[in-house]
Amino acid sequence: MALEREKSLMKGLRQLIFPLAAVLAAFVAGSFLVLAVGDSPLATYQLLIGSAFTWPDGIGYTLFYATPLIFTGLAVAVAFRCGLLNIGAEGQLYIASFATAWVGITFAGLPAILLVPLCCLAAVLAGGVWGGIPGVLKARFGAHEVITTIMMNFIAIALASYFTQYHYKPPGDAILETVPIGEGGHIARLGRFVPGLPERIPLNLSFLLALATCVLVYLFLWRTRWGYEIRATGASPAAAQYGGIATGRQIVLAMALSGALAGMVGINEVLGYRYRYYDSFSSGYGFTGIAVALLGRNHPVGVILASLLFGALLRGGLFVDIFTEHVSKDLVMVLQGIIILFVAAEAMFRDRFRGPFGRRIKGV
């Protein structure tokens, strides 16, 4: 039994090697870039990594930035497990955030015990519906989800902007944002519970919610029948049909679930951070979620790790951008890009080094 556990631990660690190597390689490649623009790689990386790990601000912000990425990473991963590429997390999180704010504004008078769950429900439902629509289009009409989710992104972002501008903006406000939600809709910042963590750092309870969601997604995918059927559909639609699985229904379910997960970004954004809907608040969380899922191998644990990495890069990128002479935050984009390239190339490597008995060969 102990041996068994050690085996599975080793297996997990082995899964880490390649992504870590990819990250390392990206940093090496990035250092040439830094040299080329005329800064010191060492100083740049000190800023990049150091700023992400100072206490309390560095760690607080890294975790805060990681929170939405966990949600979108899970969203992309769940869809991917069903063989679907959800490019629409961005639109789903926008529409869900707006819906969250709308509930928070419309029922502003409710006490926290009602308003918080109601707002969370709004986030999940709005995201779920927005994700479910491309699912239905795919299952019923075969419309490719990549196209439809991209289109739904445009619609979501424009719709939320429109309602914000013309119906929910405080009069005379120069910034495109809604009026604040009711006090009852605020969820606590972690600073309230963690000594030494000031409350100005917007890291809030939704980070814990994100971690809990990872556990739930894991249980759903690997311990329930629905998760099994979603994964079977993704692994081989023909085999799933053969097994009596209604693949169309799985596609709709997976997309709705994916949208709901992306929509949970709204909980962090609206209930935990700004307490209102702020137009174009997402710095591409939905798209970064694709990279997170890819790097995290579409597994909840991997998604957490990848989100932490990308959260740290977001935080560090800001510091590199501001406090170096020449390096801009595009460095972070380049690093992300290289990491993803390496990870994408891994599949190729793996096949190349696979022996004639496939994965039966243990030592390779």
């Binding site: 150091g50 790990f53 100072t54 120069a174 137009d279």
Partner: protein
Amino acid sequence: MLRQKVPWTLGLCLALIAGLAGSGCNNLAKAAGDPKKVRVGIVFDSGGKDDRSFNAAAYRGVKRAAKDFPIVLRDAEPGDPASLEPAMRAFAEVGYDLIIGIGFAQTPIVEAVAKDYPKQNFAIIDGVSDLPNVASLIFKEHEGSFLVGMIAARTTKTGVVGFVGGMDVPLIHKFEVGYEEGARAANPKIVVIQNYVGVTEAAWNNPGKGKELAVAQIGKGADVIFAAAGNSGLGVFDAAEQYQKYVIGVDSNQNWVKPGFVLTSMVKRVDNAVYQIISDLVNHRFKGGIHVYGLPDGGVGIAMDQYNEKLIPPDVLRQVEEAKAKIIRGEIKVTNAMEK
């Protein structure tokens, strides 16, 4: 074989990261600039410092200050509005002495951050805050716009002048109303067409749309267009050159951008205001509260130089100078669209 390899590789990676993180954490404040000097951070709005207009003016000011005083100067160009606050907080976090937010959109952000860091100084351009550690630098744009409105009305041959605003917000209404009143003062029958590029931050950064609006206005007969639209204004400049019409620049002196087609620029000396506030800080005279810049102190005005001296006849200039004097004396009241 594998058993040894995994921890080894992992250990190497982790050690490397820990090393960088450790050294970075310890020296973060130092890595962000020499703490013995006065450190100034500036956060541009989404137009970026190369908009040749508003942000560019601010950038000129801080550059001049950096040359004249022994300060550390760092700037942030967040690009999208959601990244403004993190940038400002980064400056505050590493202990910068003065942090300047460019543009009214940053007002709530400056307020929030200044509240969290009461020992550091902040400045906001075009916005008003009553926190003691925030200097609010505001301008009487309506008065300057009045003057360029007069020039526009005296120059037009068609009797139609245009106005292209960036984001549809009260601050830009200030320009628009002043411009219209000035034009009407010079020619009561003047027709003023106005358009705005948009309602979001992106409106500052859309030259294509700016050009489109200018071309439409030209189609309706406008032959002088005042562009108060940040980066989007550059599209109006393009249209003016293409259709051989006049454009009026804004914020910075933009007369040189398309020589011969830029009638004048309604300059808003953001550079002076920024320079002044840095100088105050360096000389321990920094004061929070409202700092107003208007016609008398040259905070706003019209730009005359070698590029446009032939475009404006002396009698027009004389009339403008008279109006300016009257405004300063209070004999002409220009409506401030933000005070209604």
